[in-house]
């Protein structure tokens, strides 16, 4: 066998048969296996009572109470909803009441300052902090409505000392 031929090598190895265990040992195992205590009956799924009252009470009572609470809340909500005038129905139904024909987006600089800190490596680093106020304005000329939203914003920019 000059070149390695795995299949031929496997065949050569397979020619050898593993040694048989001692007869006394096989006998001992077969006796032990056949004298095992009576195994459980090979019945199908274990039979359970149709109504498991303790289980039903344990889960059924809280579940029933929760269901009753949900039903009450739903009924109250329905009653309140039906009692509202029709206009409020429309407003709460998600239909748009504002038709913005002009939208303005603006931002105002409020303040600015620098802060200094150290990185875990010990290197100092400077932060440039700026406070802004973002503003969005929607205008509905037909109805004469103006909606304005302002949101404060903090902008932090890390600056290395070398760069700074």
């Amino acid at each position: 066998m000059s070149a390695f031929d795995p299949e031929q090598f496997e065949a050569e190895l397979k020619r050898l048969r593993p040694a048989k265990p001692p007869l006394e040992m096989l006998h001992r195992i077969s006796v032990e296996l056949s004298s095992q205590p009576a195994r459980p009956a090979r019945s199908g799924p274990t039979q359970r009572p149709l109504w498991n009252w303790p289980g039903l009470l344990r889960w059924g009572l809280p579940a029933g109470a929760l269901a009753a609470l949900c039903a009450t809340l739903y009924w109250k909500h329905q009653a309140t909803f039906l009692a509202q005038p029709p206009n409020q129905h429309l407003a709460s139904s998600g239909r748009p009441v504002l038709r913005a024909d002009k939208v303005e987006i603006d931002r105002q600089w409020v303040a600015g300052f620098d802060a200094v800190a150290k990185l875990p490596s010990g290197e100092p680093i400077r932060f440039r902090c700026e406070q802004w106020m973002d503003k969005v304005q929607w205008r509905d000329s037909a109805k004469g409505l103006v909606v304005e939203q302002t949101t404060p914003r903090l902008e932090i920019v890390p600056i290395r000392f070398e760069t700074y």
């Binding site: 050898l16 593993p18 040694a19 096989l26 195992i29």
Partner: protein
């Protein structure tokens, strides 16, 4: 099988599979006596795990031998490290061999003993246990690709170690 196997049926099943179980147990145990105990315990445990449906599948017995051997090693590591170091080489022959084949069988056994255990167990299960790579993977709790590559590397190692016989 109808009903619980009789002793004769168990004996026939052991005649069919016993030698490959013992061969694998020998790869995992520290001595021949340990290998026999390991095999016996594993067969009985596998029969129990088989929910008394009759003789268990060989792959289940191999897996049980593997797991039991790990348990034994963990349990005995602290207690028997000294005994292990002083233990004699396994005296038993791993293979049935005629007088002409005795030398070859001995050399292969010695070569197998020199192989890393992770190669040895896969080779034992594939060549003499008759398992597929998928079954080996399940028995040893490793991916099938790992089983296949360990087999290939192990076979190459074994071939190097037995060059004197197979040239």
């Amino acid at each position: 099988m109808d009903g619980w196997p009789t002793q004769q049926e168990w004996q026939a099943w052991l005649d069919d599979h016993g030698r490959k179980f013992l061969f694998f147990a020998r790869q995992k145990a520290r001595s021949d006596a340990d290998a026999q105990d390991l095999m016996q315990e594993a067969i009985i445990e596998a029969a129990r795990r088989n929910a008394w449906q009759g003789p268990p599948a060989p792959a289940l017995v191999f897996a049980t031998i593997h797991r039991r051997a790990i348990d034994w090693a963990r349990r005995e590591d602290r207690r028997a490290a000294r005994e292990w170091a002083a233990s004699e080489p396994q005296p038993g022959f791993w293979f049935d061999s005629s007088v002409e084949d005795r030398e070859r069988a001995t050399l292969i056994q010695e070569a197998m003993e020199k192989l890393p255990p992770i190669y040895r167990e896969v080779i034992a299960l594939k060549l003499w246990g008759g398992l597929t790579f998928a079954e080996i993977a399940e028995s040893l709790d490793i991916p099938a690709n790992t089983a296949a590559s360990r087999y290939r590397y192990g076979l190459e190692e074994l071939r190097k170690l037995t060059k004197a016989v197979f040239t």
